[in-house]
Amino acid sequence: MSDFVIKRLIYSAAISASLGFAANTAIAEELRFTVWTGSEAHLQMLGEIADSFTATHPDVTVRFDTIPFGDYVQKITLQMAGGNPPDLGWLLENSAPAFVEAGALADVAETLKSTDGYDYADFSQPAMGLWETSDATYGIPFSTSPFLIYFNKSLYDAADLETPDQRVKDGTWTWEQLRADAKDLRDASSGIWGFETFDGQGYGSRVWHTLVPIIRAYGGSAWEGDSCKLDSSLAAQAVQLFHDMVYADGSTVPPGEQGDFFSGNAALTMTQISRVSKLSEATFEWGLAPLPFGPAGDASTVGQAAVVAFAQGKHKELAAEFLAHMTNKENVAKMAAFFPPARKSVLEANSFLTSNAAVAPEQMTFVAQGIENGSVLPSHQRFPQIEAEARPNFDALWSKDADVPATLKKLCSSISPLL
């Protein structure tokens, strides 16, 4: 074989390999989607939604990256700054104003409104408040999830106490009653706590989640406009109740202790419907109840999270298409098993009440009512700074002798300049 032929063969092989590589890279596109759940049930459901997208877009795969909740915002911000932004992700309500203001989120309005059968108007307008302006849409809430009380029915039955869902019917389900139940159910000798804070993080990253519902039930609020309201007597009464549960009664898992409701080590906890997946192997009977009433009546609180496409993402159009797919009626109905929807048609359908096999329709009614009556957790463009200023003051609350009203006044004076 002559040199000429050998060279031609080598060139041909090299060109074919290059073309093949180029063709492969053109075909295989991967959307990276960040989430904060590690639950197998959640990830399996998300995987099914991704598979149905791949069925219509054979060249596209979706990879879900789990980032722990406490580090979530920092990590995706760092990824964006490092030139490796995710294409899509979940975002909490308290991060929305800062991300929208910074231009970090892609406007997906055009894609959503032009997608056949999407029915954009089906989303509840109050639920969309944080995520849209008059001419742009920066995210679609996939979870408008009211806070609920989970209780260990086995412990209630053993103590012969009326359960929270029964008390809801009686109209006697109040925060004072929850306090009394937690005290009665605390069993130090067995390591059973009466009440566990929100995801066990009630003194750290979930301190607002833990205190705001009680404060609202007492008629207070965190802030209104640019005015801090945590120094009001109503807020002080509410926080005092929680403080007494921790220190006077010793019924609530205090800072520096572990007491997991889902392992059976706490009788009550406050969290959202998505945590039901953690009870699939529970060795005890459990039940759900809405948040207790306070002196100001029902003050349902809703945590919200949306699916967003990032402005710096490498596949913006494709990401917007996947966002439209993920939040269409069919997939919202699928996600409703864990994440209460903002789509009115899904929320109002009877099928919503039976969407989660582990949750009885009667219990799902609490979820629907919570969404209907609830208000979203406080958010602000400078929430991270507010959180940082508030943290040492919240820390000061967690000692036996803390002066709750004085500490809340100090907290207000430290965050007021940021509001």
Binding site: Q74, T77, A81, G256, N393, D395
Partner: protein, 299 residues
């Protein structure tokens, strides 16, 4: 027969220099790209107002430094915390390392076993170490307080009381890092000729006198190295604080490295965080120079 073309001949010195540069070029390239480059970049970023989230940046000169040093009260609290952490950790770490090295440097039964025991935390994952200690230091169910309760002592909530949190992170950090310094001291002790000690004993010196007049002075170069790396390490501490206290309670364990992280990656004030990083760099550099000057003056 074709003529052999000879290039200009290089001197031996030049050829050796080229060879030398070629040998060091891989590490030098990495050093320039991954160390010198970012270091210069930090100085530049410290003169900008750069928001990590919006990716917008503008030149502000020395404004970040002025803000940190004259307007931000938290910065001074954080700086004091860093110095308290270093002041607590360095002497304790060095004293323990020296004590352990003196006890374990000679061939005694069990010496190798105990050296391994004290060195094991050094190679243990920092995350695992911090999480395990977080459990051990729980208020009621933690092993430490349960142990204390045997003696009738009601232990504090170690990581959640301002007075105890700093003590707890210092102590657990010392246990994590003391093994490395112990090994350095053991190596130094074993390099001291036995003749000196034998001669001193013949002269009637007791153990303390031998340590004070012979061992300690001969350990001086090692002590300087250990002091420098321990001071630098203590001022740069981050992982331990992040995992055990998150800077709390009440910012009681908020040290400079953690504060820089929060400013840069939580509040997205990257330019400001870069200025704080330069301050930390200057502080470490200054302390290192002071230590070396002190040592030189003693000579």
């Amino acid at each position: 027969m074709s003529a052999v073309r000879k290039g200009p001949s290089l001197s031996l010195k030049t050829r050796e220099a080229i060879t030398g540069w070629l040998f060091v070029s891989p590490i030098l390239t990495g050093f320039l790209i991954f160390f010198v480059g970012p270091l210069i970049a930090v100085f530049y970023y410290s003169t900008t107002e750069w928001n990590l989230l919006s990716q917008q940046s503008r030149f502000v000169g020395m404004a970040n430094y002025v803000d940190a040093l004259t307007r931000n009260e938290t910065f001074w609290d954080v700086l004091v915390n860093s110095l308290v952490f270093a002041a607590g950790l360095v002497p304790l770490n060095m004293a323990m390392a020296l004590g352990l090295a003196l006890a374990l440097s000679k061939s005694r039964p069990g010496a190798v076993f105990f050296r391994t025991v004290f060195f094991a935390p050094v190679i243990t994952s920092a995350v695992a170490w911090a999480i395990i200690w977080t459990f051990l230091l729980q208020h009621e169910s933690g092993a430490v307080n349960q142990g204390l309760s045997i003696f009738g002592i009601d232990g504090p909530n170690w990581l959640h009381e301002p007075d105890w949190a700093m003590v707890s992170v210092i102590f657990t950090r010392v246990l994590k890092t003391v093994g490395l310094n112990m090994i350095l001291y053991i190596a130094a002790l074993q390099s001291i000729p036995r003749d000196y000690e034998e001669a001193a004993r013949l002269e009637g010196a007791n153990g303390w006198e031998i340590f004070r007049r012979i061992t300690w002075p001969l350990l001086a170069p090692t002590t300087l190295v250990i002091m420098v790396i321990t001071v630098v390490g203590s001022l740069k501490v981050f992982d331990h604080i992040y995992l055990m206290t998150g800077g709390g309670p009440q910012n009681g364990t908020m040290v400079l490295a953690f504060y820089i992280y929060e400013q840069g990656f939580k509040f997205f004030n990257t330019g400001y965080a870069a200025a704080l990083a330069v301050v930390l760099f200057a502080l470490i550099l200054m302390l290192t120079i002071v230590q070396m000057l002190l040592k030189a003056s003693r000579k």
